[in-house]
Amino acid sequence: MIPEGMRDVLPAEAAALHALEELLRARFAAYGYGEVRTPALEFLETLELADDDMVEGGYRVFDEQGRELMLRTDLTVPCARLAATRFRERPLPLRFSYVASAFRSPSASRAQDGEFAQAGVELIGASGPEADAEVVALLCDVLAATGLPEFTVSLGTVAFHTAMVASLRLSPDQEQAVLDALAARDYPLFESIVGNADVDEASRRALQKALDLGGGGEAVHQARKLAGSAGMEDAIDHLVQVRDIVEDYGFRDLVRIDFGLHPGLSYYTGVIVEAYASGTGLPVAQGGRYDNLLASFEWPVPAVGFAIAIDRLGMAMEDARVALPQRPRPLAVAGGLREPALMAALRRAGLDALAVPVGEQPPREPALYREGSQWVLRRGGRIARGSLKELRRELEVP
């Protein structure tokens, strides 16, 4: 009945998602990020301008004039387009946020629905560790606010890979092979290429340890040992600075440095960030610095941002059994359709009230129904009987 990868969201899940989206909006607003809404359809050309990755799996549509359009495949490129075309004359930096769907055909390797909800921010026109740290801190803030008991934010950098590969003094073919192996997260392949190349044993060991250890002080220590080039030293210093500033924001022990982190999208140019929570194997958020994207729209300013995969975050919260406060269930009033004054009074009093047919004893709490000449209120496992006047106190909003 519906295309593959599309889905309906039923009331219970929609309520939970709504609560989550409101929380995300509130945290984004707390840092001064203004929400934008961009159109679902963009010119194919616009998305292609940014990056080849952006049109992969995209749904193509033609308008009446035969122009090729595409459903947006993420929100970063539309935000960049919006900023470059409408905010050029404004003082920098710009701060935008969004909560919206993006679309890509489902496939086994993409592991997401054809329509997937994203929430994220873009900080445009600011560079340096302080700007990176604000965005990373906001991500930590949001995840902490969901009440998730176990999550971590990994920090890596594109610059490290580039500089590391350069420091190994490989042939151009080997360099490409090493970068491909890192992109495929294939460490045995990576090690065998480095092993066959003319790389000294100490560097090989340090490299392997820096990747094996993933995060923490020891990984930084090992990475420094093999930091042959100034580029690599700078990349490490930058990451450590970002982590320290995020800790100053109060998010201690949440951020770890991971030298193996590889950017999923090729438009990232600096720091990359990924967040993980138990209950989902894939990242609940991804982002990074993309200093060349705005230049595709002839406005060369730096930018950094992240996007949360709302469905995955929801799954992680469900797995951890953390739920955000939601509206209480409505009071089911038997014969409510024939009692407009009563229903209006209940709703004025702040109660959500739902009319169910007369004579039917509502199957679930809370419920209000007639039994002979009396009204019966079932709520919170308690039963009260009497006239509506007598039940008034019981009916008050808790």
Partner: protein
């Protein structure tokens, strides 16, 4: 929290268990005949022994933190996981084989214009023949493939061989070796970050064992 591990069942399981036992994981309960495929070990580690092709999915989606599976599966099904260590055991070769009496592998003059190949590795097979510019009709089977040529379903097979005995008994001759594979330790992206300490410790022990056996083997 203890690790959750998905292991490829079948032939390579015994070698995997030997290696994990040597690395200090108490896997003994999994060796019992008729052991349940899902077990909680004495140290709290949860182990699932399942169909090899399903291991990467369990790991990618976080059903298991890490997994052990043959490289042939990882190249066949594209999954977003970390491939952390070559365990150097469970070695197998992927080969193209044909009935002994078949006329050569590719005979443009007298052979069929398109060769039918039965395999459990359709993607790898397609890529291999495409790369050498040969047209094939790939028949993806879930089960054993060696009977396909005799029953005229296919002109040849691409299959994983260890000793080669199965193919020989089916009257098939190896014509080309496509690749050589071994077992790999894989980790989910979330587990790689959230369980970095536990996974790092296990990798350290396994790496020592595999490197020792490798240098021992060469001596």
């Amino acid at each position: 929290m203890s690790l959750r591990i998905a292991l490829a069942a079948g032939t390579p399981l015994a070698e995997t268990l030997d290696l994990f036992a040597a690395a200090g994981v108490p896997v003994a309960p999994l060796r019992q005949v008729g052991a349940s495929p899902l077990q909680e070990l004495p140290d709290g580690t949860v182990v699932l022994a399942t169909r090899a092709a399903d291991v990467p999915l369990f790991v990618e989606r976080g059903g298991a933190d890490i997994g052990v599976v043959g490289k042939e599966i990882l190249v066949e099904v594209e999954r977003d996981v970390y491939e952390l260590l070559d365990l150097r055991v469970g070695r197998a070769r992927l080969v193209f084989a044909q009935p002994e009496d078949a006329s050569g592998a590719w005979d443009e003059e007298h052979g069929p214009s398109r060769v039918r190949v039965a395999t459990r590795f359709p993607e790898t097979t397609r890529r291999y023949f495409e790369a050498s510019g040969r047209q094939v009709n790939v028949l993806a089977l879930e089960g054993p493939v060696e009977a396909a040529p005799r029953l005229r379903l296919a002109d040849g097979v691409v299959d994983l061989v260890r000793s080669g005995e199965t193919l020989r008994r089916a009257g098939l001759t190896e014509r080309e070796q496509i690749a050589e594979y071994s077992l790999r330790l894989i980790a989910g992206r979330a587990a790689h970050a959230l369980r970095a300490a536990e996974i790092g410790a296990l990798i350290g022990r396994l790496r020592e064992l595999t490197e020792r056996s490798e240098s021992g083997g060469e001596a």
